[in-house]
């Protein structure tokens, strides 16, 4: 198996680039005192070296294009190739963010129209694409929440409620904005109990962050009651859009009483995950909160699009306008789906998850019965003969990316499966068969799981060693 770092295939005297010959005279350079004295350890490789190196590295990865990725909460759906093509048009990639608005009308139109479409789908009034990812969108949304109260002269509201099932970014984002967290306990069915919520509501609560369906894939059936309680308390309700796939075109957060939300374009709207980004986490708000959206906002004046800054805004949250090319991909996906197909995203993703639920519930513990939405959470093997970690690692041997493990934190052996609407019955059946096989292996030949994975390029890695004595750059190896 290829096992070299780019530095290790480097050889002095090799180059991998070409520039045109310059005709500009290279006179005196900067004074010595401004120049670096130490020589950096940089690669010296040919173009072919680079191509082979990264091609070989890529073979050690696993993408959605090659197989099923049932990661709960991540919505690993197919990334359409036409989106890649259109996002690489020079008319988009060659634009300077500070060129005059009149020369970037196509780009501004994409932002404007995408905001309109997302607003229609979610019941919000306007979206900002400044946030680069979901967590960034959360922090931005919470800043809007805080700004709303500050402008009203209400300085007491410094607390935000999150359910104990919340994704880690929720409380982390609240902290980033200077809020304190109050955690509210879920019911045994995994949803928010309005009675428990009432107990923690007071005039210090700015708002609550909720995902719906929640991180267990269950619809918060008391959502109208929850939003009413918060409204009566003078608080706002924030929607974490990570699970929007279950409701797309069918039900809108705005209609449930949410005031602010973010969407993960790299989840619901098919933009590629890229190994960890770039994503995009646009933040949307209801009419009364629009003045607080980050600067600049894209406005339509007559037939022209403009970038405008508002004094009421929370300010800028990114250097320019967010991950534009990612938004282009989401825009293309929305046009491709169109009004005819949008609802089926919800119908089919929920159908797929329930199918898996039914087929695996005999082998895996189902802590919450009743229909799930687009994802299902199991609490490990019914037999308890192996841990969720061991099941996950054994799945790797069968060529599958494991589901999300150990999240949500409510169950000690959480295994969260989200099949998305693009997966066929054959794909699901294949996965189900392997999961059942692993459940049997746990009983009959548990070492297969305990030492898994066996067939991947590396076996289980020593994470303790990596944390105790971190080696995080090439120089540490020399």
């Amino acid at each position: 198996m290829y096992d070299k770092l780019i530095f290790e295939i480097s050889k002095s005297g090799r180059i991998g680039y070409s520039f045109p010959k310059t005709t500009i005279e290279e006179k005196a350079f900067l004074d010595e005192k401004y120049l670096r004295k130490t020589s950096p350890l940089l690669p010296e490789v040919t173009e072919l070296d680079v191509v082979r190196h990264y091609t070989n590295l890529s073979k050690k990865n696993y993408g959605v294009d090659e197989g099923f990725y049932p990661l709960g909460s991540c919505t690993m759906k197919y990334n359409p190739k036409i989106n890649e093509e259109v996002a690489s048009l020079p008319g988009f990639t060659g634009l300077h963010p500070l060129q005059p608005a009149e020369t970037a009308q196509g780009a501004l139109e994409i932002y404007y129209e995408t905001s309109k479409m997302l607003s229609l789908l979610t019941g919000m009034a306007e979206f900002s694409f400044s946030p680069f990812a979901g967590a960034h969108g959360e922090a931005t949304g919470l800043m809007i929440m805080k700004e709303y109260f500050l402008r009203k002269g209400d300085y007491k509201r410094n607390k935000v409620i999150v359910p104990d099932s919340a994704h880690g970014t929720n409380p982390a984002s609240a902290s980033v904005c200077g809020f304190e967290i109050i955690e509210v306990e879920s019911t045994p069915e995994g949803i928010v109990d309005p009675k428990k919520l009432k107990e923690v509501l007071n005039d210090e609560v700015a708002g609550m962050m909720l995902t719906n369906p929640n991180t267990l894939g269950i619809f918060e059936k008391d959502i109208l009651e929850i939003s009413r309680l918060l409204r009566e308390n003078g608080s706002l309700l924030y929607y974490d859009g990570a699970n929007l796939n279950a409701l797309l075109g069918l039900s809108r957060p705005g209609d449930m009483g949410f005031d602010i939300m973010h969407i993960n374009l790299h989840k619901t709207f098919s933009t590629p995950h890229g190994g960890g980004g770039p994503g995009s986490g646009p933040v949307g708000v209801v009419e009364k909160l629009v003045p607080y959206l980050p600067n600049p906002r894209i406005q339509k004046v007559g037939t022209k699009f403009e970038l405008r800054e508002y004094e009421s805004s929370i300010g800028r949250v990114s250097g320019f306008y967010g991950n534009f090319l990612v938004v282009v991909k989401a825009y293309a996906y929305l046009l491709s789906l169109g009004k005819e197909n949008v609802k089926n995203v919800a119908y089919l993703s929920v159908l797929n998850a329930n199918y898996i639920k039914e087929k695996l519930k005999d082998d895996y513990k189902l802590p919450i019965t009743g229909p799930c939405m687009h994802e299902v959470v199991f609490d490990g093997l019914r037999s308890g003969k192996a841990t969720t970690l061991e099941v996950a690692k054994r799945l790797l041997d069968y060529g599958y990316h494991p589901p999300t493990i150990y999240f949500p934190l409510l169950f000690s052996q959480s295994l969260m499966i989200e099949p998305t609407e693009v997966e066929s019955k054959e794909t699901l059946d294949g996965f189900i068969e392997v999961m059942k096989k692993i459940a049997r292996e746990a009983e009959e030949a548990p070492e297969l799981l305990k030492e898994a994975p066996h067939t991947t390029v590396v076996t289980r890695l020593d994470e303790v060693k990596a944390a105790r004595s971190p080696i995080i750059k090439y120089r540490d190896l020399k």
Binding site: L30, Q99, G319, Y474
Partner: protein, 446 residues
């Protein structure tokens, strides 16, 4: 119901519904209150076939004007080698998830390790992370690393920092009750005197940019000792493409280096996606936000890569995490890693020098037109400020019509900047382009 991204046939639906034990898919939504089910049809565009989509996108792209850029100010015209998109569009890189299951993500983890290594080499610091969103948010994260480390609440910021970066810092600082104070500049360079005057025991960090927003090269060495004596941190926002030649943050003694990797081969893209980076000294390791990749061994003793020190991050620390960052700009980190590998030791120096000489040639030629004069005698790298009596917006508009994106009008930054333009020439500008630009400038009559 047939659509190319939905595989369910009528037979599939029937079988699956039977297995689940419901009559129709809508039964699965029975938990939803009536009031939240959207009635009617959403007024979205109709579904576009691929052919229609291509046409539509082509139309939109053509509504944007492609210009030859003599403007930088945070986004630079760079050369993107063909190898880069060929590699980054590989499905194993493009469509894979965050490497939480390291055994099938060694490709991603290794390029993150290489990215971290290259960033530490360029900045000459001890540690780096797997990327953050952009240069502005990287500077924001660096600011909070410093306040967390020193437990102090005030930050001094050079007024020669990119104004858009300053805007982002202001937004975050306000919500966390951080006090920001600005250091004045002298001939477009951060004023040492003003800095010394403002340093006090409540200052967590001093942030400067090098080269700064005006293109000027700062004299960071002159201020670092005073900053450290004050037990504050020095944060430098830097352009990584210049670090192959410029004195590094590490050599200067900075504690944190941050910035945007856009200048490492990423197209201007109307502002994103770019890639932010943060590098720091060893002792700030646990304050470093975001993902970090480390080397370890597997059960057979083979070398492997894993995300490490995850106990700092949001999914473990939750509200106690230093940052909420989850997804970063991973694929863009790969993009710049390939760029740095292709150009390598020699190429990064060659590109930096070329930008320097191009910008100095441009400056000389602009001065020769007689329409501009210098504002500062300080050394600059690839951007510089000139002053003019011309009406800048009319002048710039004329140049746009001729296909050029001229320098940035700085008048909006205050009375001191009336008539000032921030010009830029990167390594991709040719002498022919510059000469054509100059000819067009010369031909401009009020």
């Amino acid at each position: 119901m047939m659509y190319k991204y939905f595989p369910h046939t009528e037979a599939d639906l029937k079988e699956m519904l039977k297995n689940i034990g419901v009559d129709s898919v809508t039964d699965l939504f029975s938990d939803l209150p009536e009031a939240v089910i959207y009635q009617g049809e959403l007024d979205l565009p109709k579904a576009h076939s691929e052919i229609e989509l291509r046409e539509k996108m082509r139309e939109l792209a053509e509504k944007n004007k492609q210009l030859i850029a003599f403007r930088g100010a945070g986004s630079y015209d760079v050369y993107t080698p063909a190898v880069i998109p060929a590699l980054t569009s590989r499905q194993e890189f493009l469509t894979s998830y965050t490497p939480y299951q390291p055994e099938i993500s060694q490709g991603t983890l290794q390029y993150i390790f290489e990215f971290q290594s290259l960033i530490t080499e360029l900045t000459n610091l001890d540690i780096s992370n797997a990327s953050v969103y952009d240069g502005a948010t990287a500077t924001m994260e660096a600011m909070f690393m410093a306040t967390a480390q020193t437990r102090r609440n005030k930050v001094l910021i050079s007024s020669a920092l990119n104004p858009l970066v300053i805007e982002v810092l202001k937004t975050y600082a306000r919500f966390r009750n951080l006090e920001l104070k600005f250091i004045s500049n002298d001939e477009l360079r951060t004023s040492k005197e003003d800095l010394l005057e403002k340093l006090d025991e409540s200052v967590a960090a001093v942030i400067i940019q090098n080269p700064n927003f005006f293109g000027v090269i700062e004299d960071a060495e002159a201020i670092v000792n005073a900053i450290h004596t004050n037990k504050s941190l020095l944060i430098m926002n830097v352009d990584p493409s210049t670090l192959a030649v410029l004195k590094t943050p590490g050599e200067i003694g900075a504690d944190i280096a941050c910035g945007d990797g856009q200048t490492l081969g990423i197209p201007k893209s109307f502002g994103g996606p770019y890639v932010g980076f943060i590098a720091a000294t060893e002792k700030l390791l646990r304050k470093m936000p975001g993902r970090i990749c480390g080397i370890t061994t597997d059960t057979k003793g083979r070398r492997g890569f894993v995300l490490t020190l995850q106990a700092r991050e949001q999914h473990i620390r939750r509200e106690k995490a230093n940052s909420n960052i989850c997804s970063n700009q991973s694929l863009m980190a790969l993009h710049t890693t390939i760029y740095m590998s292709l150009l390598g030791k020699e190429g990064l120096v060659a590109a930096a020098k070329r930008a320097y000489y191009n910008a100095h040639y441009l400056e000389r030629k602009l001065l020769e037109t007689g329409k501009f004069e210098r504002v500062s005698s300080q050394p600059f790298f690839k951007e510089f400020v000139l002053k003019t009596d011309l009406d800048i917006s009319k002048f710039n508009q004329y140049l746009i019509e001729k296909g050029f994106l001229s320098g940035l009008d700085l008048s909006c930054y205050g009375p001191n900047f009336k008539g000032c333009i921030l010009f830029c020439a990167t390594e991709v500008r040719t002498q022919a382009e510059i000469d054509e630009f100059i000819k067009t400038v010369e031909a401009y009559h009020v």
